[in-house]
Symmetry: C2
Subunit: 354 residues, 2 copies
């Protein structure tokens, strides 16, 4: 097992076993509730259920999907906690992907002004992304993660055995965040990633640990996203908007699939504004299209996409904020781009589909 010690909590990367449970027993909580969705209840919970039996935990189950990452779901979770008379010395364990972790963490952080919580991220995306940084929240008013808090869990248990339960598409989606971490911070990792053409042969424990290390070093320098941490948003300004747009259509994109589109567009903007080389753009574009294919974005959607980007939390004023790449492995976290440039980037992406 790899244990990354952070200032305030540890991330355990490896199989959950008896030593985790002993640690939890020593915390002596008044009660334990476990939040899961219908998927993690069916596929993940059975893998660890026996370990937790001594705690007689209360299970709180919600429906899966980003579409349920809402204030309504929070109300349901809070009410469940009230109904079992959970107090401040309870612990909420969030078993699931990003939705469960973000929303469960937010509910724990606000229930009676905050109870402890443990994240057990079950997807690649949530293990390499949500496991570090303390960003919690829900979607509100059509804007992703627009209501939330910064709060650290007391522990993260990232167990790659759960990846066996994931569909291929979900695995590919999580891989996008590993690609992003390399693109913004580690050109050597990027070179290695270029060689991976099949995702079913990866040593995930190693890649999760390496990718988490990149995120950790960035977040620890700038926990509240005043500057450097914005680097992690590479691909996300356009990617989030694309993800929101497709949420309202029949063709839902997974987070990583949307971010892959965002990374291509924002790499193109990086060429125009920061001198990223055309060959590097070509390399990024080829690898991302190889893994994620192409998804046409209707020109009629551009205005809506731009409007969503204007609501982005990263913006410090009326301009749309970006993290861009001067080169692979380097990042400028405080850039902006004009609407016409953004539209041209979307055009560039669309042309790749012909």
């Amino acid at each position: 097992m790899t244990i990354l010690a952070l200032e305030t909590y540890n991330i355990h990367i490896g199989t959950i076993h008896e030593s985790h449970i002993e640690w939890l027993r020593d915390k002596n909580y008044a009660g334990i509730a476990i939040l899961m969705d219908e998927n993690t209840a069916q596929h993940c919970w059975p893998k660890i259920e026996d370990l937790f039996a001594p705690f007689s935990p209360t299970l709180i189950k919600i429906q899966a999907g980003e579409i349920n990452k809402t204030l309504e779901s929070c109300q349901y979770i809070w009410q469940q906690l009230f109904d079992i008379q959970a107090g401040r010395r309870w612990c909420l364990i969030n078993l699931g992907g990003g939705v469960i972790g973000d929303m469960g963490g937010f509910c724990a952080s606000t229930f009676k002004r905050g109870i402890d919580f443990i994240q057990i991220p079950t997807t690649i995306l949530s293990q390499v992304d949500a496991s570090v940084g303390g960003k919690l929240g829900i979607d509100f008013y059509g804007v992703k993660n627009s209501i939330g808090v910064f709060q650290n869990p007391i522990a993260v248990w990232a167990d790659p055995q759960f990846f066996e339960t994931l569909p291929t598409r979900e695995i590919r989606s999580g891989f996008a965040e590993i690609l992003k971490h390399a693109l913004i911070a580690d050109a050597e990792q990027w070179e290695e990633l270029l060689l991976i053409s099949e995702l079913n042969k990866i040593d995930w424990t190693s890649w999760v640990a390496r990718s988490v290390s990149i995120k950790r070093s960035i977040v620890e320098e700038d926990p509240h996203e005043h500057g450097l941490r914005k680097a992690l948003n590479f691909g996300h300004t356009i990617g989030h908007a694309v993800e929101s747009y497709f949420l309202d259509t029949e063709k839902h994109l997974l987070h990583g699939e949307a971010i892959a589109i965002g990374m291509i567009c924002e790499a193109w903007i990086s060429v125009q504004q920061l001198g990223l080389r055309e060959e590097e753009l070509q390399e990024i574009t080829s690898l991302l299209l190889w893994h994620y294919g192409h998804q046409f974005i209707p020109a009629g959607a551009y205005d809506e996409l731009i409007a969503t980007m204007k609501q982005d939390k990263k913006n410090t004023d009326a301009r749309i904020a970006f993290s861009l790449l001067p080169a692979i492995g380097e990042v400028e976290p405080m850039e902006t781009a004009e609407e016409l440039v953004i539209m041209a980037a979307l055009d560039f992406y669309n042309r790749l589909g012909h």
Copy 2:
């Protein structure tokens, strides 16, 4: 003006004037929104409106009253902030009593994972209580302050000129918290308070400053209420339940009126369990009845009151937690009491009305 310097922010007690505005100008916010209710919009805002004119603030108005301290009101406030395209570099100013401060602070702390906020408490209660300690939140599922966070404002401006706008009943309600601070921590202050029979002749600036000092010294030792800070809950276990109960009837009690009932009941429990002297109970009872009169509590409501107390955040297990007085000016913050004792305390209070 009295300025109490806390570790993370200052509390200015005195008239709001140009120096406040200069400080705010130096913060260079991208925008300023001011939350108020219909009462503070009418009575308080006109007193400071001209000072704020240079910022062209956006005003967000909600309906007054604890009954509106809900998630629905938060949704309205968040939506207003989105509609004016407020970003992370905005500041929300909360102009009002406890409801505005608690809820506005909670909305600011969760909007885009947190923006700065300034508290301008306009009632005595909110100046001596909510101005220190960072407790924010709303009522949910019938439980007061059950969803929220701990977060400090960047400043508190406590201006006694606003008391001129308060009805007598509101002033009396706020005075209860000053009495409470003396009861738990300062026997000399209590002796002085015994001499006050008319609230219209008080030097409020001085009393606010002295009372805030007590709260500050307690909160700074235990910001997250693991132990000592629970002392501040004297009168509040029963008081909150009584307040909740009357919320659902035609006879709304103000917070301080309910806490006065709670203090009498909990002083009686203190006699039974911690040896508070009968003469001290008598002194407390007389002064509180003098200021607050008597309000009969139907025996049929006892079960509901107990059920509410069981939901109290201060409980660490199934037992109902209390802060009790071994003597006037001293406090034991980690006590509990049995249901039968609590009911006997309510009976004691009810008999005082005969």
